[in-house]
Each structure stands twice: as structure tokens, then as C-alpha cells.
């Protein structure tokens, strides 16, 4: 380990300690790259250039590989999330029960496309592959809370509730 000097933490933000703790727990093993990126995303909400560089250097993984992994997996986001996130499930059961209409409704209401965040950074719109609550399709997650049998009207109601908060 002494042969490779550890990079210093990018800032004195306490969350970096959580990230470096996760790497230490895995013995700075290269195969812990995905685990570490998960920790970064759960601490910071997304992966930015600084964090990918820091993780790549700490684990002695080529930056190209770290960036490749960060962009390959859909779960990782390279953009900061909005204050709230609405996730529309686009699994088969939800699709059969009209989730594409829900997505259209949300896109129209927010004026953004799936994968984007409103300009005021209030609401992010995400299309999920399947959250596994298929028997209650169509399913929408509001900040992680699952709501089933969703309708366009109910969805707009939720979005407006956030807007006036």
C-alpha cells in the first residue's frame, strides 16, 4: 500500500470519509469499484468528475475504466438529482396498464423529458425498468415511496403538491 500514495480527500466534506471508509472496508480492492461508486451516489446523490477521479486514483483503477463503469450502469447518475424525484415504472406489467401515458402526462406537466430535472432543480423525472411491484401496476415512486394503480390525475396532484411546498 505504501508504494501508492493515497490521494487526499477532494474537500473537507464529511461525506468523503464515508466514501474512503467504504474503500478501506474492501481493502482498496479494484473489484470494489462498483460498491464504492454506490457509496458515492448514496452519499452525494450523483457521481461528478471529482468523485470518479478520486475513486479511480484511490483504487488504482484507470480513469477510463471508472468512467466506463459509471456510464455503463443505468443506476449511476452523472447529474445532480432534483429535490424530489418521481420515478415511473416502465416494466412490462406497468406498460400493459398504460405507464407510457403516465410518462407522457408527467413530461408534459413538467416540461422535461424522462431522465431530466426541472430548471429550478425541484423535480427530477426518472423512467425505471421495473421496481418489482408489478401486481399494483401501473406503479410510480414519489421520492422512493411506491404508489400503485396510478392515474394521470393522481400523478399531477402529487407533482403539484411538491411545486407549492
Amino acid at each position: 500500500m505504501a508504494l501508492y500514495p493515497m490521494p487526499s480527500l477532494p474537500s473537507d466534506d464529511k461525506r468523503w470519509k464515508i466514501v474512503s471508509g467504504a474503500m478501506r472496508k474492501n481493502g482498496y480492492a479494484r473489484h470494489a469499484l462498483i460498491e464504492t461508486l454506490h457509496t458515492v451516489q448514496s452519499s452525494f446523490g450523483y457521481l461528478d468528475d471529482d468523485s470518479i477521479r478520486f475513486v479511480a486514483r484511490s483504487l488504482r483503477v484507470p480513469l477510463s475504466q471508472a468512467y466506463g463503469v459509471a456510464t455503463f450502469y443505468h443506476y449511476f447518475s452523472l447529474k445532480p438529482p432534483g429535490k424530489h424525484t418521481v420515478t415511473i415504472c416502465a416494466g412490462t406489467a406497468c406498460y400493459i396498464k398504460g405507464s407510457d401515458m403516465l410518462l407522457e402526462t408527467a413530461e408534459k406537466h413538467l416540461g422535461i423529458r424522462a431522465g431530466e430535472t426541472t430548471k429550478d432543480m425541484l423535480i427530477g423525472l426518472v423512467k425505471a425498468r421495473c421496481v418489482g411491484a408489478c401486481s399494483r401496476a401501473p406503479v410510480v415512486m414519489a421520492d422512493g415511496d411506491v404508489a400503485g394503480e396510478m392515474t394521470g390525475a393522481l400523478l399531477i396532484e402529487q407533482l403539484e403538491r411538491w411545486a407549492v411546498e
Binding site: 479494484r30 469499484l33 454506490h38 466506463g68 450502469y73 412490462t92 418489482g132 408489478c134 401486481s135 400503485g148
Partner: protein, 546 residues
């Protein structure tokens, strides 16, 4: 740990439970939870405390008929209540010892009668975070039996006898796979549990991992003993945070009880398991891609051979099985291979768990013996298509499967029969579609999924699915021609035959099966610029009039 100690734990749980006159089991699986099952359980516990009755209130995993949730089961009366609200808590507690509450009671006898529960035998009966609950239901007896009474080759032989086949969809004989890894040289081997349930519209594995985590852990430990591995990984989707939490608790408890770790049951056998999180890539369900992902790389598949059984994780012999396959191991060891192979038909033995969803009355998890007909699953267990609509097709196998029409509903469900009609067994998603679904649009939905999920390594899959998507979109928009249809069929064959891994090789299946059974819908879109189901928005109606 030995059999006597397990028995002691089981006995103490039984004695503890015997203190209560009744058990109220509240389903806390995602579907019920999202409808307020948590508040419901708290309310019931509160009412019970006030009433002074001796009642055990327990959170359990998925009971099955999710569409009737939140579900509450009362034992020993064996009453099932549906759509229970916190305000109903009082009525339910008051009814204990007397007549059940008629307005909440649900009669799902037909739903349950034709099911056979092996993998889900504990569902609705145990608290998933309590290892002792699992032990009280014969948990870990199979592991102790294997370690103390059987040689590794005995275990593999028993598995071969049982004729269990991989439940991830491929149907490779499990005994054969274990035997190959066992024979592979080297002292370091791995066992991997594939919990990357990528098939959209399926949630069997989530339910098993969340509801009965120890069953999976026990299955993995037995597998490790049989093949000579000392290290295991469970690869779980990051989208299933509860499954990750339950498995983490499960592993900790198992270590605490000495059922994982060094010298398990005072034998030389050492085994431990780590959890690895997926990060949202469908292709990682493919075994070589999954291995790449555990190694911390992009989930790109590799050509096989060499198979992981010979050279897998970090180049070592690796056994990869699906969650449901591991969940079948313990009962087979307890009850014998013959017992298992007595269920099912032909070369498909045992049971299969399906996530029955879509346009169906009783949606949820069902476990049926192999060889049951699709009609029995959909009409008897599922209760048929609701709201007076007519059945059109049932989709099995997810993006790798196909749509099966009405004319084949009397087909017995086996690995082979489903392939014959253009679909696959798959991991267990079963989505029912009625006359409001457009089959061309469904095909486009799946191709869009495969297109975005293609890892991009091989050209037929990367470029082929994109071209198929363009053609299908054109047809859906009413701008397709008959030559587009020809080209589409041609592409299907090319992508199927030349792709590197399972994702590409099976991606055309939804298109091929809808072309086989619903060609008229494609023709209708092309020739008459009309979507029979009224789903597709056909562009440029003026042109049609002219």
C-alpha cells in the same frame, strides 16, 4: 451447531408461540406495504395490547394474491382477510375465538387449491428477519444433514436424482452443473447466486430474497459444500433495497448461529457469503456479464466456452445458479430426490413460481407444479381477465420470451413445450394481455428494452435491435410497408443466430412470436393504417383517406 441444537431452537420457538392463542400474520411485502400494511400492523398490535388477548402479531413476506392486499391471515383459524384498513383492526381482534369478519373475508380457495408450495412454503408464516422462525420450520436441517451425513458427491447425486433444472430460465440440469464445478480442479472455487432479476414484470426472486432469505443462504451453503467452494456472492439488483437489507440481516444471523463462517457444524467446511449490488444493467443477468460486474467492470459478456464452471470469477471454477434454484435445494435434501421428481411432468420436475400480472383478476405470486396448463393458471388461479374484456395473449420469459395466444392455452407448462410455441420458461414473469393491447406495440416495447439494454459489445445485437426498433416504430406509426416486414423477419434471424450472448440471441423472440400468431395485426397496421386495439397513434390520417 448440530441437529439437536437446531431442534432445541425450533422447540423454544414453538414453546414461545404456544403462549399465544392466535396468530395474526400481516403481509408486509412491497405491494401490501405500499397500501399501508405497516400502519395496519401497528394498529393491530395496539388493539391487541388493549384487548388483553394472547395474540402474536407478526409481519410476514408475500402471501401471494397481491391484488387483494393488504392481506391479513389469522391462525389457527386459517382465515384470510383482504383489503384490510387500519380501522378494521378492532373488528378482526374482536372476532378472534368467534366468527370471522364476513365483510373482509376472502374466499380464494380456487386460487390456492391448484398451487403447490415448495419454494414459497414459508411465505406468510415466518418473519423474514428472524432466523429462529426459519429454523422452526425445518430450516438449516438440510445443511446440517449434508455436512454431517453426506459426502459432497452424495449431495450432487441427490440433486441429479431430483432432476431439478435451473430456474433462471435456461433449464440446465442443476446436478450436472454442480458435478462439473465439483470435478473442476483448483482449491479456490466460488458460488454465485444470481439475484439480478432484470426481467421487467417479474418479482419472484425479490419476494424470495425478501421473504425467506435464509432459504437462499442455506441453498448456497449446501452448493458450496457439494462443489468444494469456500466463498459465495449474492448479486442483487440495487433497485431492491429491502432484499439487500434482509439478506444482510440474514447473513449476520447465520454467522452468529455458526451456520456460516469457519468450521461449520464442527466440520472442516468453511463458507461465507458477500453481497454484491447490481447497478441496473439487464445484461448482468447473463452469467459471464454478471461475473464481470462482480469483478468491478462493465457488464460485458464473454464468449463461452470456457464456461464459468471451469473458468469463472477471477478465472476460478464458479457455480452460478438463480435465486429460485437455490431456494429449491433445502427441501430436496430434506425430502429426497424422488419426492421432488414425483412433481411435474416429462423432463420438467418440481414446481415453478410465476409472477402473474397484467390484465388478470388475481395478480400476484403463484407457485404451481410443472405440467399444469396455462389455462388453469390464468383462468382458475388467476381468475381470468377482468372488466368483460377478452383474453388475447400471455407473455412469458420477459424480453427473451414470447406471446402465447388463446389457441395454446391448454399447453402444459414445461421448459420444452414453451419453446415449441415460440416462448421460453424464463425466470417466471407471466403477463396477461387482453384485447386492449396491440401486439405490434408490445413487440416494439420489448425491442426498445433490448436496444437500450444491449451492452454494445457485439454488432448484431447493438445495431440489429436498433434497426428492428426503427422498423417496428415505422409500422406502429402506420408508415410501414410490406418490405419493412420482410426486412424485420430477416433481421430477427440474423440477430438471433449471430449475437454473442443470450440477450441478443433471444431479443427477437417477442417479435417472432407476435409475427407467428398475430401477423394480421402487423398487416392491418401496414395495409389499412389501422391499429386494431386502438393503441398506436397512426400518423397522417389524411393520406389514408386519400
Amino acid at each position: 451447531m448440530n441437529i439437536e441444537e437446531l431442534e432445541q431452537i425450533a422447540e423454544s420457538v414453538r414453546q414461545e408461540n404456544a403462549k399465544y392463542d392466535h396468530e395474526i400474520n400481516v403481509c408486509m411485502d412491497l405491494a401490501c406495504f405500499s397500501q399501508g400494511a405497516s400502519q395496519l400492523k401497528d394498529e393491530i398490535a395496539k388493539v391487541v395490547a388493549v384487548s388483553g388477548k394472547k395474540v402474536l402479531v407478526r409481519r410476514t413476506s408475500c402471501m401471494g394474491p397481491c391484488s387483494a392486499g393488504p392481506l391479513v391471515a389469522v391462525d389457527p383459524e386459517d382465515t384470510l382477510y383482504r383489503h384490510v384498513k387500519p380501522s378494521d383492526a378492532e373488528a378482526i381482534v374482536n372476532s378472534l375465538g368467534g366468527e370471522p369478519v364476513p365483510s373482509l373475508q376472502c374466499d380464494l380457495r380456487e386460487h390456492f387449491d391448484q398451487q403447490m408450495r415448495v419454494v414459497l412454503e414459508n411465505a406468510g408464516h415466518i418473519d423474514p428477519e428472524k432466523i429462529d422462525d426459519y429454523i422452526a420450520r425445518e430450516g438449516y436441517q438440510a445443511l446440517v444433514k449434508a455436512l454431517t451425513e453426506m459426502t459432497p458427491s452424495d449431495v450432487t447425486l441427490l440433486l441429479t436424482e431430483s432432476e431439478l433444472r435451473g430456474r433462471g430460465g435456461g433449464g440446465y440440469p442443476t446436478g450436472l452443473k454442480w458435478g462439473t464445478v465439483a470435478k473442476a480442479g483448483g482449491d479456490l472455487k466460488y458460488v454465485i447466486c444470481n439475484g439480478d432479476e432484470g426481467d421487467p414484470g417479474a418479482f419472484m426472486d425479490r419476494s424470495v430474497m425478501e421473504g425467506d432469505p435464509h432459504r437462499v443462504i442455506e441453498g448456497m451453503a449446501i452448493a458450496a459444500y457439494a462443489v468444494g467452494a469456500s466463498k459465495g456472492f449474492i448479486y442483487v439488483r440495487a433497485e431492491y433495497p429491502l432484499a439487500v437489507a434482509r439478506l444482510t440481516t440474514g447473513l449476520r444471523e447465520a454467522r452468529r448461529r455458526g451456520l456460516l463462517g469457519n468450521n461449520i457444524c464442527n466440520t472442516p467446511f468453511c463458507f461465507d457469503v458477500e453481497i454484491r449490488l447490481g447497478a441496473g444493467a439487464f445484461v448482468c443477468g447473463e452469467e459471464t456479464a454478471l461475473i464481470a460486474s462482480i469483478e468491478g467492470r462493465r457488464g460485458n459478456p464473454k464468449p463461452r466456452p470456457p464456461y464459468p464452471a471451469v473458468s469463472g470469477l477471477w478465472g476460478k471454477p464458479t457455480l452460478i445458479n438463480n435465486v429460485e434454484t437455490f431456494a429449491n435445494i433445502a427441501p430436496i435434501l430434506r425430502k429426497g430426490g424422488e419426492w421432488f421428481s414425483s412433481m411435474g411432468v416429462g423432463r420438467s420436475k418440481g414446481t415453478k413460481v410465476f409472477a402473474l400480472t397484467g390484465k388478470i383478476v388475481n395478480s400476484g405470486l403463484v407457485e404451481v407444479p410443472m405440467g399444469i396448463t396455462l389455462r388453469q393458471i390464468i383462468e382458475d388461479i388467476g381468475g381470468g381477465v377482468p372488466n368483460g374484456h377478452t383474453f388475447k395473449a400471455v407473455q412469458t420469459g420477459g424480453p427473451s420470451g414470447g406471446c402465447i395466444p388463446n389457441e395454446h392455452l391448454d399447453l402444459q407448462v414445461t421448459y420444452e413445450s414453451l419453446v415449441q410455441v415460440g416462448s421460453i420458461m424464463g425466470s417466471g414473469g407471466m403477463i396477461v394481455m387482453d384485447d386492449t393491447s396491440c401486439m405490434v406495440n408490445v413487440a416494439r416495447f420489448f425491442i426498445e428494452f433490448c436496444m437500450t439494454e444491449s451492452c454494445g459489445k457485439c454488432i448484431p445485437c447493438r445495431a440489429g435491435t436498433a434497426q428492428m426498433h426503427t422498423l417496428l416504430t415505422r409500422i406502429c406509426d402506420g408508415a410501414g410497408s410490406m418490405s419493412d416486414l420482410e426486412l424485420l423477419e430477416d433481421l430477427c434471424v440474423t440477430v438471433k443466430e449471430t449475437s454473442l450472448c443470450g440477450l441478443g440471441q433471444t431479443a427477437p423472440n417477442p417479435v417472432l412470436s407476435t409475427l407467428r400468431y398475430f401477423r394480421n395485426e402487423y398487416i392491418e397496421h401496414i395495409a389499412n393504417k389501422r391499429c386494431p386495439a386502438g393503441v398506436c397513434t397512426i400518423q397522417a390520417p389524411e393520406e389514408v383517406l386519400a
